[in-house]
Every structure is written in C-alpha cells, then in structure tokens.
Amino acid sequence: MNIGNNKMINKISPKNKKLQNDSSISVSLDNVSIKYGNTVAVKNIFCDIKKNQVTSFIGPSGCGKSTVIRAINRMNDLIEGCKLSGSVIFEGTDIYADDIDPVEVRRRIGMVFQQPNPFPKSIYENIAFGARVNGFRGDMDQLVEESLTKAAVWDECKDKLNESGYSLSGGQQQRLCIARTIAIEPDVILMDEPCSALDPLSTLKIEETIHELKKNFTIIIVTHNMQQANRVSDFTAFFNTEKKGKDLGGKVGFLVEFSKTKSMFNSPKQKSTQDYISGKFG
C-alpha cells in the first residue's frame, strides 16, 4: 500500500504544509467543492478531522452531508458525473492525486451505510469476505469473533454463524455491517446515518458501540438526530444550504460551523446553527 509514503507527501500544496506536522489530524478537507454533472452540490468545505475522535456531520436534508462523507473514501467515484475539486488529505496524502488507487483508499477508510447492507452470504462469510479481500492472513475464526464482539453483536450471532446475514434483525444487520468494517481494521470509519433505519433500542446499542470504537478508530458519522450528535460526538460540523445564482434555482451546501460538540450545542457562533439545533428548521 503506498498511501502515506514520502513521495506522496510532496504532492500536498504549500498552504497545507502545516498539516503534515499535525499528527492529530486524520482527514483534512481543503476547499472541497463537489459537483453532480453541472450542478454544484457543496462548495468550499474546509475541515480538519481529528484522529481517534468522533466527528458528526449535521444539517438539514439535501445540504450535502452524504456527498461530503462519500468523498472521504472516494465512494463518489461510483456515481457517474460526480466531480470533486479541492483536496482531501488523509494522513498527509491527497487521496485524489492521480496515482492514488481508490480501492486502497477504501481499505484504509471504511464505510457503514444508511441501510444495513449485509452480503447475501452467511454471517461468518460477511466478515471473512472483507478480510480476505484485504489479504488477511491470520486466524479467521478469531477475527470473526473479535469483530462481532467489538460491534456488540457476537451474542446474537455466535450460534448461527452459518446462517444468512439476512436472518438477523435490522439493528443486528447494521451491527454486522459495522463488524465487517471493523474486521478490515481501517483507520477511519465513515457512517452515513447508520441508525436512521433502526428502532431506538438498536440505535442506543450502536451508539454504545461507537463509544467503544473511538479508542481504535477515527469516526465520522452523519446524523439527522441532534441528540445523537450531542451524545456520541466530540466534534460537530453543521452544514446548511444557500440559494445559488438567481437563474439556477438550486441550492448549494456549505459548512456553516465546525467546532467541539459541547461548545456548538452550548454556544453556537452562527445564528443558523442556533436555529437548527433549537429545532427551528430542518
């Protein structure tokens, strides 16, 4: 894997020099704008995401949270016509540089999706598949048990490892998906509204899991739920939309405010943040 070797570091533009030295930063968005075809979805995002911390993205729907989080592991590459400008720096390397393989990026930055999406394979195979894809050489049984335990779903799964992943409930499926991501030991885990399809109890369990995972992973979580952001995250980024040019009619997302979760919820700096977190819109 050649992400993060010295050759790459030279690629960073001079104004990011300071980032190289700041080892507490995992992912840094530097003037990121993203277009779908000719429509700008988000623009001019600057944001430094700290290692081993939970960062939440909040904001009204359509403000581009998913678009931004998908940009961090190049999932947007799968969407035809999606273009990014600016740079996304991961551990000192611009992951959009020409010689970066997006597959390798995704092996370092894993993702959990909004809808639980286990593979139509056995529970065991759901974990083992990703590990094998990443060339895991070790005790697979142990890895499966460890990952499921870390994702707090081992007890429910241990007696039916050979049954289909779809035999689990929605919340268990989502934790299976988290386990699958943990198993490949990425540095960063991206979660796009991981609880939106789940009941409150499963949601709580996943939040507990996130607390545990923080020790080993950097976590970025998109959430619709401000209490959840408040409960799980150390940092919060609030996105909003603004009307763009008179004739275009569409809206473009931008980052309003990014700070420690505590301070954002206690004393937001921007009026729109204040309005959003107090439930005036969204």
Binding site: N73, V103, G110, F113, P120, F129, Y166, C177, R180
Partner: protein
C-alpha cells in the same frame, strides 16, 4: 349474508350496497379466467397425449432401441433417432457453452460503468435487435454468407487436428459446426438480456457494500454481483437451452440433414426438429409413428429442461429479507 344499511347512508354514499349486477360480473369474470387457465392445461395435456398415442406403434416396435440406432430406412421400415438426439443435445449444449461467456460478459459490460453510457445503450439495443431477426433470415445468412466465410478457418482446424475424431472430416459446407454457430447467434440475445435484467436487479447497496470494504471491481462483480444474480442468469441460460433444442428453421437450413452418425462436428448431421421438418411431408405409416416418437422425445427433453430451470431458479434465488 346481508349487511344492514340505513337509508340515510345510502342517500349519501349510493354504493354502500353493491348492485347485484356488479357481483354477477365478478363471478362471471372469475369463471372465465378459470376456464381460460384450464384451457392451457387441456391443450398441453392433449398435445402430449396425441403425440404419445400416435407414436405407440413405433414405441412398441423399437422400444428404447430407437434411442440408440441411427437407421432411417423407409424401405425396410427400420428407424432410429440416435443421430438426431445426439445432434440435438450436442448442438444445443455446444452453442450454450459458447454463448454463456459471451452473453454474460456482454451483460456485465452493459450494466457496469466500464464504458460511457451511450455506447452501452447502443450495444444493448443491438443485442435486442438480434433477437428480432426471423430465424429463416438467419438461416439464409448462415448458408450464403457465414458458412462460406468460416470454411477456410474450419479447414485449418481440420488440417491441424484432423486426427481427433471431433474434427475428423473435411468441412464441405453444411454441417454441425455452422449450425452450432447460428444457434449461438440465436440464443445470445436471450442470455444477454435476461442476465442484464438480473444484474440490474441486484440492489445497488450491495455493490456499495463491496466497494466500501475495499473490494476491486472484479471481486465485486464475480464474488458479489454475479452470485446475487445467479438465479436469474441460470434461468436465462436454461431458457436459451430450451430454445436451442427446439430451434428448427435456421438449423434445418445449415446442418446438412443427414442421419448418418459421425463424431465430426464438420460433418452433416441432424437434430430432432430438423428431422421432423424434413420428413413429415413424405412420411406415411410407421415412419409417421417414428417421427411422432422422436417428437415425443423432444418434448420430454424440453420439458425436463424447463422443470429443471424452474427448480434451479428457486433453489438459487437469494433471499433479501
């Protein structure tokens, strides 16, 4: 039983009580549908019964020997369908083996974003159009254009590998090989379009799941997408097999229509369908009965393929909750 409805309601909602005529239409409609559905079953069974009945003479005379003899002699009244059965199975399976990788490959190509969308669309439309060509036109094309074109290549194979029985006769025109190739052309659109549909039906979040754990495109396609679509693809393949076994016109025009058995794929041969098409005109007496016997075998074969198709599709279909 009648629900009681008071006057006040009926004056506001006039249809609280359904008119008797409407109920009668319901019942009538149901009965018509049942009758029509049973018609299908009746037609199917009577065809089977008639074909079987017409072939009883031949069945009792030759029994299973019919399946293993290549004789076809109206003078001595000796009949056997071995060449035709072998030809049917060989041409259809061989064409399937060529068409599966081509068809599934094309379907992957059309559904993945390897090349720009408009090119994919054009390829997709062309494949569908291929299915629209009448088989007699394909047969004509095979006889006058394809076969003369491929003959030099077949000759090279014959010269190099002639010692292998499969390539053991000189390609002189009509024969099994061009028939196989024309069958490939005919079943390719079936396999491609059904595979394409089943690949398209794989939920996109499965693809995302695979990419999200760092799978490459090829791992994603071969380990996740195709397994998820395998039941549909298999169904398409078996449908194509049924089509290939029953295909008559184009094959009759190009296979050479010879009941002499030969191992060589360059030699003229027969399929059951082409035999029936060739001989029903002049046949009488026990020859008709033998043709019916052959037809009965063909029906059993295609029926088996269809039942097997249904079974395998059910067996392989994955459960997304």
């Amino acid at each position: 039983m009648l629900l009681r409805v008071d006057k006040a309601t009926t004056s506001k909602f006039s249809l609280r009580k359904r008119p008797t005529s409407e109920k009668l239409v319901d019942i009538g409609f149901k009965n018509i549908v049942v009758a029509m559905a049973s018609m299908v079953a009746v037609v199917l069974f009577s065809i089977f019964a008639v074909v079987y009945y017409e072939s009883t003479e031949s069945i009792s005379r030759y029994g299973l020997r019919f399946l293993f003899s290549s004789a076809w002699d109206p003078v001595t009244d000796e009949y056997g369908a071995f060449t035709a059965i072998y030809g049917t199975l060989f041409t259809s399976i061989a064409s399937l083996l060529i068409a599966i990788p081509l068809g599934v490959g094309t379907a992957i190509f059309i559904t993945e974003n390897i090349i720009p969308e408009y090119i994919r669309n054009i390829i997709g439309i062309m494949v569908e159009l291929l299915a629209a060509i009448p088989s007699v036109v394909l047969g004509l094309w095979a006889v006058f254009i394809m076969e003369p074109f491929i003959r030099p290549f077949l000759n090279i194979i014959y010269e190099l590998f002639g010692f292998i029985p499969f390539f053991g006769t000189e390609p002189i025109g009509a024969g099994m090989m061009p028939a196989i190739l024309i069958l490939v052309v005919m079943i390719l659109p079936i396999i491609t379009s059904i595979s394409k549909d089943s690949l398209n039906q794989v939920p996109s979040n499965l693809r995302q799941a695979a990419y999200g754990i760092g799978a490459t495109r090829w791992t994603t396609i071969f380990k996740v997408i195709i397994p998820a679509a395998i039941s549909g693809i298999t169904g398409g393949v078996l449908l194509a097999l049924g089509r290939a076994m029953g295909e008559t016109m184009a094959v009759t025009m190009i296979i050479g229509n010879s009941n002499n058995f030969s191992w060589s794929i360059f030699a003229p041969s027969y399929t059951i369908s082409s035999m029936l098409a060739n001989q029903f005109g002049e046949a009488d007496g026990s020859q008709v009965s033998s043709l019916m016997y052959a037809a009965f075998i063909l029906m059993i074969l295609t029926l088996m393929v269809n039942v097997f198709a249904q079974w395998i599709v059910k067996k392989l279909s994955l459960k997304y909750q």
